[in-house]
Amino acid sequence: MAPEAQAFALPAEDLLPIEERRGYGHVLPLIEGNKSYTQVTEEVFSTTEKMPPLKWWLALSVSFSLLLLGAWAVTQTVTRGIGTWGLNRTVGWAFDITNFVFWVGIGHAGTLISAILFLFRQRWRTSINRAAEAMTIFAVMCAGMFPIIHMGRPWLAFWATPYPNTRGSLWVNFKSPLLWDVVAISTYFIISLTFWYLGLVPDLATMRDRAKSKLRKAIFSIFSLGWNGSNRTWSRYETVYMLLAGLSTPLVISVHTIVSMDFATSVIPGWHATIFPPYFVAGAVFSGFAMVLTLMIIARKVMDLEEYITVRHLEAMTKVIIATGMIVGMAYGTEFFMAWYSGNSYERYLFMNRALGPFKWAYWTMVSCNVLIPQLFWIRKVRTTPWMIFILTIFVNIGMWFERFVIIVTSLHRDYLPSSWAMYSPTFIEVAIFLGSFGLFFTCFLIFTRLLPIIAASEVKGVLKHEEH
């Protein structure tokens, strides 16, 4: 190197050799195995054309059983009423809304991976975005179920939408955060579905081209919209894909912001905190990435996709988990500090009660799973060992469920009036509905893995011989 060039050296350039030693960037390809285009096509699409293996059927039977259990519990709730739940006047939102927020949070990673990482040109997203987006859609389906059954009369759920009616001038209350929720979740579902479908179109065309049976050919002909890989179409398609990514990014943030406002617009200690919107969004990303990792680690193993979903992908996602986990931890700290600093005795009591009251076990589960355990991801060995990541992400999933439980139940069970104080414990029906939502989620996901390519083949081909720069 010429002395002058050396003098121009920048720290990032100094970092390069370190990064290479660590195994980033130039060294590891995004897709392993030095594959050809045909090989990618074959490996990605053949899973959708073969009879699924026995382990798939086993998994489906387990998750479908859970789904049936949930269906039974929902039937009980609808026919016998909300009284089958453990709710009471003081704790009016509990298990059900906890699950709602939990699932919405899970649903955030998909769009985040698709949209934000796309805008930031993080090319490692290509082999996981399809599955993550599918997860988003199924998670939002699970989430949407909970407020509807919480209505008690779910057959009137359409009352929550603004539509011209014959009851005189009667409209929904646009100033209510609960209505914002209806609009936000529906918009999120529709846009995520559109985004997912748009990303699928080129792959659906490949499936159409590969289809042997007439019926299969007809079905995929309908859904692939006559796609023929024309550059003119690609050019517009990419423009629209980027626009959708640009729209989805603020959308994904807005959704959990609005969910947080269900709580934060109230005057209940522990709920009314201005930090809630960003704190909920960070928590959602945190839990969503954990769930994506959980699923991806299983999927890559079961479906032999280790060369597509590489350790590099997993490691990148664990870093997002540390970052968002720290933000969540900061938010816990801020809330605590501010409760003390405010001098407001209700706030102070509430937070002391969270940490030392009857639900302290839930609180400390939350803190250890969300703040303490993810610190292990600082260790590189943990970040690059799939089974360790798997265990840690399970902890994060548990911790984030408890976070919502803590926020909802501990804030409600001690009212301003001590005469209204109450405890809460879920009934079997509530637990069954929660398990049922997992059944719904995994059933959908399993069917998806066999029906459609879970890797975006057209995107993976684009980065196959991509040189990182």
């Binding site: 121009f8 517009r236 398609y237 729209l247």
Partner: protein, 781 residues
């Protein structure tokens, strides 16, 4: 093209195994004058649009049109239903509550824009369910990269075949006509989005017409109409035009004798009557311990809320909220008033806002309160405590100092590429910077001498803003190094110079030790007596507060040096930064009003800091490129910076809205006070200007892709953001410090701004010079 004389042009296709080969073939075909119809590939090949000569799609415009449509539908629907068709008061909020309409408006904007642009794509590209897709090549969705072109006049297929084979084609053959997909010509492609929007109009019209068809709209539901909506109960002091004195509260009829048996006063309201009472009346009570205690009790119950416990407004609730500025009872003016005058004011009200309390406090008690006030006046020296808008000193204004003038100076001078050498530039700007810094310092000194409250507040703003610049650079650098992002490598130099500001900012922050009492209520000696502050003084006291300042700056400077010089410790820095910066925000800025708190405040501070950091990096990158110091900065980097600026401007608005919306919605008195202060008074225009500068203008300016790459637009947007951040800080600090007095722009403000520019340049330039000057050694690890 020009090949269509008599013979039908013959089309051919050639397929390749690699996108690179296809791209070369297309370029060659274009060069040789062939008409390339299209290429067909399993994934988009970058550079193909330019090679074929496709113009950028106009779909983004369709997207924008749909977004505006969605916004209009959402706002129209919400305003019409909530305020006209079904006017229902919810939570005491106005019928048209724009903050509450933002979430739904945003969602519907995204929904209509997203669905609209995808629908436009489908129409424009003719994407619809097709059972028979022209079979161009079986491998285009698998592993073949195919080009379709017309054979040039005069060339034979054999020539083409040979050329293609030469370029690496796997196969080349002639195309049958129906193998080509015809471009959708049903509608003009670019007109389609417009047509789609037009298609929406009937639906909107039908929706709008529904209420007119609805009989209920004309004969409204009685339950929600008229009387039920407006509370009938009048408040005592409400205006009532139909009553003799124009207000609800009526005086008792003449000659009424109170049940306590006292004789009615022979005085009426008004200044003349008050002076008459001052001349004629004498306090019937002697200053005995008993009378004094009674007066104290009544005073503390009925008067202290507004006048403060010591009559000096210091512990006044309404002054702390900035609502009103009552007369200072211990001031010389009130001291000079005779007892009778004070008694009259207590009975009938003061010349300004004070209401008469004659109906509430008995006559004896009013006289005893006057006794107590006399005691208070004896106990106080008003010169020390007289700090209120009521007797605010005239502000020192400097007409020549206009923030915009100051802001444009460096850009105008720097952008001229007429300074050839580094040394000259450095010399020129060092002189200017030193001048600015010295001038600013002098202004602040003059400010300290004449109006210390104002001046110290500006020292705080300046110090905090310089800290933000330093930390902004450091934070960007740390993020860069942890994520391994490379796009900004060339502009790292600007980041690396920014942390040099931290020591100066730290010294300024520490200098606040001497002025803390002027701006921080908790630093005043009487804070111990204030129950609002009680219990927080453990955290908010001078030694601990400035100890934290010292520790934070030590951490930032030391860790910053490690990152800048060795590129190490970035991840740990981000962690430590998160905690320290949060506490710094709570401490330095939020505690200006210690009764108020907001958990998002640190994130709000961060969003402003980060936005400003990006703006400064952008400005320096552009300026330095123009003078030829950073030749490696390209248009793509400008575009990236533009995108970042746009995104974080939106992020700032998001955090701003989160804080505002939640406080507005919950409407808890102690939380709303600082915002009410700005929305009720003379600060209102600045409250909105803050939004416009930090979000509105950058959003509009940078929405277009073209704008994000234009250096002029970027520069304008950056300076707007800088002005916006200063205003944002000003609005966080000054209203509570001035306790509701009108905003002023005086010597201290101008001095603060000048110092920021001067010191900013003085601190950063030498570091930057070290980086870019090949003659000097770069610190090595």
């Amino acid at each position: 093209m020009r090949s269509t004389d008599l013979m039908v042009p013959t089309r051919f296709r050639a397929s390749f195994a690699e996108p690179g080969l296809l791209l070369e073939a297309v370029k060659r075909l274009k060069l040789d004058g062939y008409r390339v119809l299209d290429t067909y590939t399993p994934f988009p090949v970058h550079g193909m649009d330019e090679a074929i000569g496709l113009k950028p799609s106009r779909l983004p415009r369709a997207c924008l049109a749909f977004a505006i449509l969605g916004l209009a539908i959402a706002l129209g629907l919400q305003i019409w239903t909530s305020a006209y068709d079904y006017p229902l008061i919810v939570g005491g909020k106005p019928l048209v509550s724009l903050p509450a309409f933002v979430p739904v408006a945003f969602e519907l904007t995204v929904l209509v824009a997203g669905l609209g642009v995808v629908a436009s794509l489908f129409v424009v590209s003719g994407m619809r369910p097709k059972f028979k897709v022209p079979d161009l090549h079986p491998g285009v969705n698998d592993d073949r990269f195919v080009v379709a072109a017309e054979i040039r006049a005069g060339a034979s297929f054999a020539v083409v075949q040979a050329m293609m084979a030469d370029l690496g084609a796997v196969e080349t053959d002639l195309l049958v006509d129906d193998q080509m997909q015809k471009d959708s010509s049903l509608l003009d492609r670019e007109a389609t989005p417009l047509a789609l929007i037009l298609a929406f109009i009937p639906a909107v019209l039908v929706l709008a017409a529904l209420p007119l068809l609805n009989r209920d709209y004309l004969r409204r539901n009685a339950a929600w109409d008229g009387g039920m909506m407006v509370p009938v109960a009048y408040q005592s002091f409400d205006p009532a035009p139909f009553l003799p004195n124009g207000q609800v509260l009526q005086s008792p009829p003449n000659g009424t004798v109170p049940r306590s048996g006292l004789v009615p006063l022979s005085y009426g309201p008004g200044k003349a009557e008050a002076e008459r009472a001052g001349r004629e009346l004498v306090n019937p009570f002697l200053p005995t311990q008993e009378n004094f205690s009674r007066g104290k009790l009544v005073y503390e119950r009925s008067c202290a809320a507004c006048h403060g416990r010591d009559g000096d407004n210091n512990s006044s609730v309404i002054v702390a909220r900035g609502l009103l500025a009552p007369a200072i009872l211990v001031s010389p003016v009130v001291k000079a008033m005779p007892d009778g005058h004070l008694f009259h004011v207590a009975t009938f009200g003061g010349p300004q806002k004070m209401k008469g309390l004659g109906d509430i406090i008995s006559r004896e008690d009013r006289w005893k309160v006057v006794l107590y006030i006399r005691e208070l006046q004896k106990a106080t020296t008003p010169e020390v405590r007289g700090r209120s808008s009521f007797c605010a000193r005239p502000e020192h204004r400097s007409e020549a100092m206009n923030p915009n003038q100051v802001f444009t100076v460096p850009s105008r001078d720097l952008t001229k590429p007429q300074f050839p050498t580094l040394a000259e530039i450095g010399e020129k700007f060092r002189l200017a910077a030193v001048t600015l810094a010295v001038l600013g310092f002098l202004m602040i000194v003059v400010g300290l001498a004449t109006n210390p409250v104002h001046a110290w507040a500006n020292v705080l703003i300046t110090a905090f803003n310089l800290t933000c610049v330093g930390l902004g650079g450091l934070f960007l650098l740390a993020i860069q190094s942890t994520t391994g992002a490379r796009w900004s490598d060339p502009i790292l130099k600007a980041h690396r110079a920014m942390p040099a500001l931290l020591p100066i900012a730290g010294l300024m922050m520490l200098s606040l030790w001497f002025g803390a009492g002027y701006i921080y209520p908790w630093a005043r000696p009487e804070a111990h007596a204030d129950h609002l502050l009680h219990g927080r003084l453990v955290w908010l006291n001078r030694p601990f507060f400035f100890g934290r300042v010292l520790i934070f700056f030590a951490i930032w400077i030391l860790m910053g040096r490690r990152i800048v010089q060795h590129g190490k410790g970035a991840a740990v820095f981000i962690l430590v930064f998160g905690i320290t910066f949060a506490v710094a925000n709570f401490d330095w800025i939020m505690s200006v009003e210690p009764g108020w708190y907001s958990t998002i405040f640190a994130i709000y501070g961060f969003s402003g800091m980060f936005l400003q950091g990006i703006a400064i990096v952008t400005i320096s990158a552009i300026v330095l490129r123009r003078v030829g110091l950073l030749p490696e900065i390209s248009k793509a980097q400008n575009h990236d910076l533009g995108k970042l600026l746009f995104a974080f401007s939106c992020f700032w608005a998001y955090i701003w809205l989160s804080q505002f919306l939640l406080i507005w919605y919950a409407n808890i008195p102690e939380e709303t006070a600082p915002i009410r202060l700005m929305l009720d008074g003379k600060w209102t225009p600045f409250f909105y200007l803050n939004l416009v500068l930090n979000f509105g203008l950058p959003f509009v300016l940078l929405l277009q892709r073209k704008a994000k790459t234009s250096e002029t637009v970027l520069m304008v947007a950056c300076f707007i953001v800088l002005a916006g951040h200063w205003l944002d800080l000003y609005l966080m600090v000054l209203p509570p410090v001035l306790k509701g007095a009108a905003p002023t722009f005086g010597l201290s403000e101008a001095g603060g701004i000048l110092m920021q520019f001067g010191l900013g340049h003085m601190a950063c330039w030498p570091v930057f010079m070290k980086d870019v000057n090949p003659a000097q050694e770069v610190p090595q690890r």
